[in-house]
């Protein structure tokens, strides 16, 4: 075994299967890579699929960790949800993004609602270029979508029957890039690679971690990793421990996620 700096997790072997939230996926994947480098006999399979799938499969017992942007109670029945143990490992902000051709930098909450409910159909109606609006959405079961509708659209339901629907955030970004006038939403973590899209400010507040911490940007949520009961497999335990360790926080922030401990009281209080 090649020596590693992290003595506490060194030499763990076994398999960890994690799936679910695509908002959280980049973080889990990168953590998995680090973890496997340090523990060459272990395997961490990190898949996406959406929060619903993560909760479902962890509750079925077919995976070890279910990643989710929403609380298990919102998806599963009481009995199943009560068997799951929540590990909140990060927070994430969701940003509206538009295709560059739209010529949009910022929208008010009302404008955002109008766009996503189909009330306005051309970007020039909200101060952009003369380009038709194309909505790109995620499935109803997506945690990103639930969060976005809840905090950015003030609980109005977006017009999914007029939108192109994508399986996950990766596809969504590709569509926003390639379809003129397209608009959608992704977790901040998807923007660290500087894709060719515009992240839109809401009411003038840019979607940044700083703005989340200080409470001015409201569209964010906790990221959960659920296990069925307390984790028993040593590899799972070690993996969760690794992700929640203090020295991993900088890594988390580097990937566009936030750390719960940095939230201001204002942010916490206003977030329900």
């Amino acid at each position: 075994v090649i020596g590693s700096s992290k003595a506490d997790t060194k030499g763990v072997s076994g398999t960890v299967n994690a799936a679910g939230s695509s908002a959280l996926l980049p973080l889990v994947q990168s953590a998995a890579k680090t973890f496997m480098d340090e523990n060459p006999d272990s395997v961490v399979n990190a898949n996406g699929g959406g929060s619903g799938q993560g909760l479902q499969q962890v509750s079925d017992g077919t995976i070890d960790i279910g990643d989710s942007d929403v609380y298990a109670e919102e998806k599963l029945d009481k009995k199943s949800a009560s068997k799951l143990v929540d590990h909140q490992i990060a927070i994430t902000a969701i940003a509206p993004i538009v295709n560059k051709d739209a010529g949009i930098k910022s929208l008010t909450t009302q404008q955002l609602i109008d766009v996503f409910t189909g009330k306005v159909t051309n970007w020039k109606q909200v101060g952009g270029n003369d380009v038709k609006i194309v909505l790109v959405s995620r499935p109803a079961s997506s945690g990103t979508r639930v969060t976005f509708e809840q905090y950015a659209l003030k609980k109005t339901v977006s017009r999914s029957n007029q939108s192109l629907e994508t399986d996950d955030s990766g596809t969504l970004i590709q569509m926003i890039q390639s379809v003129e006038g397209a608009v959608g939403y992704v977790a901040l973590s998807y923007l660290t690679g500087k894709p060719n899209v515009t992240a839109v400010a809401i009411n003038g507040v840019k979607p940044t971690l700083q703005n989340v911490y200080n409470g001015s940007y409201k569209v964010w949520t906790y990221e959960h990793m659920y296990t069925k009961g307390q984790p028993k497999k040593t590899a799972v335990k070690a993996f969760l421990k690794k992700m929640m360790s203090k020295d991993y926080e900088s890594k988390i922030e580097g990937m566009g996620y936030g750390v719960a401990s940095k939230l201001s009281d204002k942010a916490k209080k206003e977030h329900k």
């Binding site: 699929g49 959406g50 929060s51 619903g52 799938q53 909760l55 479902q56 499969q57 509750s59 079925d60 919102e74 998806k75 599963l76 029945d77 199943s80 038709k132 194309v134 499935p139 109803a140 079961s141 997506s142 999914s160 029957n161 007029q162 939108s163 192109l164 629907e165 994508t166 399986d167 569509m175 390639s178 379809v179 003129e180 397209a182």
Partner: protein, 302 residues
């Protein structure tokens, strides 16, 4: 010698049991699958108390996604129509080419046909459908976008239909070619002997005589098209509304299942409605199969 015979007879019995077991296994598998789908798929109507009418003929789709919670809307008409229209259009696009190629490789240039066209068609068959989907997404969708500039990009019924048409082309072509080939030579000789031209022989004798087999090919192709999930979902746009024209996106049964099945709460209304879609697909394929048999038998009875 007697011992040898006895041993042979005993082993004969054992083998017989093995073969029968294999046959039964297949039936059991199908029944199991049918029962499982029937059970899962009927819950929308039994447990969640929706009507079959609502599921098939309305388009209000807002099922609740939480285990044990019912009361949303499960109108799947958009998906059903999406499946039907893409398949039908695919068939319309594909048929002239498939039958034309089948005729070409059997009647017009049988030598070249056997040497180049049949292997080529076999290659078409063995290219995975995701590759067709990927090709559709990276080549066809941009192409449609650049030609027609539709509002929602190139994701459209047309793109899905073309991808499906490419996918079912080999099935229809090979089955039709086999059907045409198995038309007895004596029919052709009979017609040529009366002074018919080649086209008269093909159009008036060979194709009608092969029509049963060609139809089988069409139905098999259709079954494949209805059941294809990933390739279609890559190019159809998955918009939950009826397509207003060929260039607008819509959704279909398989992409909905592929996208949401794993993502929804087990036993929830949403999940059950998706199972009902799967059941519908199962029923459609059985209906198509029975149709083939009816056609085949109808031909025999004559």
């Amino acid at each position: 010698m007697d011992k040898v015979v006895q041993k042979a007879i005993a082993s004969d019995k054992r083998w017989r049991a093995v073969y029968i077991a294999c046959g039964l296994l297949i039936v059991a598998l199908t029944l199991l699958m049918g029962a499982f789908l029937l059970y899962q798929g009927s819950q929308t109507f039994i447990k969640a108390h929706h009507s079959i009418w609502e599921f098939l003929f309305t388009s209000d789709w807002a099922p609740l996604d939480k285990t044990g919670l019912f009361g949303g809307k499960v109108g799947a008409a958009v998906y059903i129509v999406g499946s039907l229209e893409t398949c039908l259009l695919a068939l319309i696009i594909c048929l002239p080419f498939a039958i034309g190629s089948a005729v070409y490789m059997t009647e017009i240039s049988p030598k070249i046909g056997e040497k180049y066209f049949r292997p080529a068609t076999e290659i078409y068959v063995s290219i995975p459908s995701v590759v067709y989907g990927w090709f559709g997404m990276t080549k066809l969708v941009p192409l449609i976008k650049n030609i027609f500039h539709p509002a929602m990009g190139g994701y459209s019924v047309l793109a899905a239909s073309i991808v499906l048409a490419i996918m079912i082309f080999p099935t229809i072509t090979t089955v039709s070619a086999d059907a045409i080939k198995s038309v007895p030579m004596s029919y052709r000789e009979g017609a040529y002997g009366l002074g018919a031209t080649r086209w008269q022989v093909i159009g008036k004798v060979v194709l009608p005589a092969a029509s049963g087999g060609i139809l089988t090919g069409i139905i098999l192709g259709l079954a494949r098209a209805i059941g294809e999930a990933l390739a279609v979902s890559m190019v159809i746009g998955k918009t939950r509304s009826f397509a207003s024209n060929l260039l607008s996106p819509t959704s279909n049964l398989t992409s909905a299942i592929a996208a949401d099945m794993g993502n929804t709460a087990q036993g929830g209304e949403y999940n059950l409605a998706l199972w009902t879609m799967a059941l519908l697909l199962f029923i459609i394929s059985i209906v198509l199969i029975v149709l083939i048999h009816k056609l085949a038998n109808g031909k025999k009875d004559k």
